[in-house]
Amino acid sequence: MMNSQSCVTILKEWDIVAARQMGREIAKNIGFGTVDQARITTAISELARNIYLYAGEGKISFNIVQSLDTKGISIKAEDKGPGIKDLSQVMEDGFSTSGGLGAGLPGVRRLMDDFDIISEVNKGTTIVTVKWLR
């Protein structure tokens, strides 16, 4: 069940900062503590940077999600970029094509609770990840 949505278009470097600021604000309003706020904000930063580096353009959107006994923040990162050929490879620790630290997607998955990725070569990538309030 969704009841609120906001989004940031990722086109330039500064949009990465805008996305994580918006995400932090939403996380704070939901009631996440400072550590979870840092986890959520960092995850957004990684996802937004992936869009900026690999697809050039995309969108990060936020939803407040509700389960029976708690609520959470759902982050959707979508782009129409080159897509990912081998999903299991990018989900391995240490794999990176950008010469970065290779934290990437496995790191994001560890910071969040739920993590889903759909990617098609030459069509794009959509990642949905959720952090639940405990």
Binding site: W14, V35, A38, R39, T42, R49, G107
Partner: protein, 118 residues
């Protein structure tokens, strides 16, 4: 946006107070190395007390600036990393090994004094 670099005797002091975007981080890397060269500083403290997010890119820039300064002959200490930032970095899989750290600015300066024997 540029991060101010202060000189104190043989040391350079930096307190990062702004939300770091990629460009600011890279600009800071350049500025710091330039300032080390110009002032012949032997030690640098980068205080991160006010930084509430360090993602993989910023971590890489900080780790790199420590190695680059080391090549030039200046020792860098990172101070004041917040608990939430430390937890997030490790969970993300970033360990920043070989990067000297200290609890706060005071401990950072003490560490430089000891290591540089000044």
């Amino acid at each position: 946006m540029r991060i101010p670099i202060l000189k104190l005797h043989n040391y350079l002091l930096i307190s990062i107070q702004t939300e770091l975007d990629d460009h600011t981080a890279i600009q800071f890397q350049e500025d710091l190395l330039g300032e080390i060269h110009k002032t012949e500083a032997t030690g640098v403290v980068i205080d991160l007390t006010s930084v509430d997010v360090i993602d993989s890119f910023i971590a890489k820039v900080l780790g790199d600036v420590v190695s680059m300064s080391d090549l030039m002959g200046a020792k860098v200490v990172l101070t004041g990393i917040q608990p939430a930032v430390a937890m997030t970095l490790i969970e993300l899989g970033i360990h920043l090994q070989n990067v000297p750290t200290a609890l706060d600015l005071e401990q950072g300066l003490l560490k430089l004094h000891q290591e540089l024997g000044e």
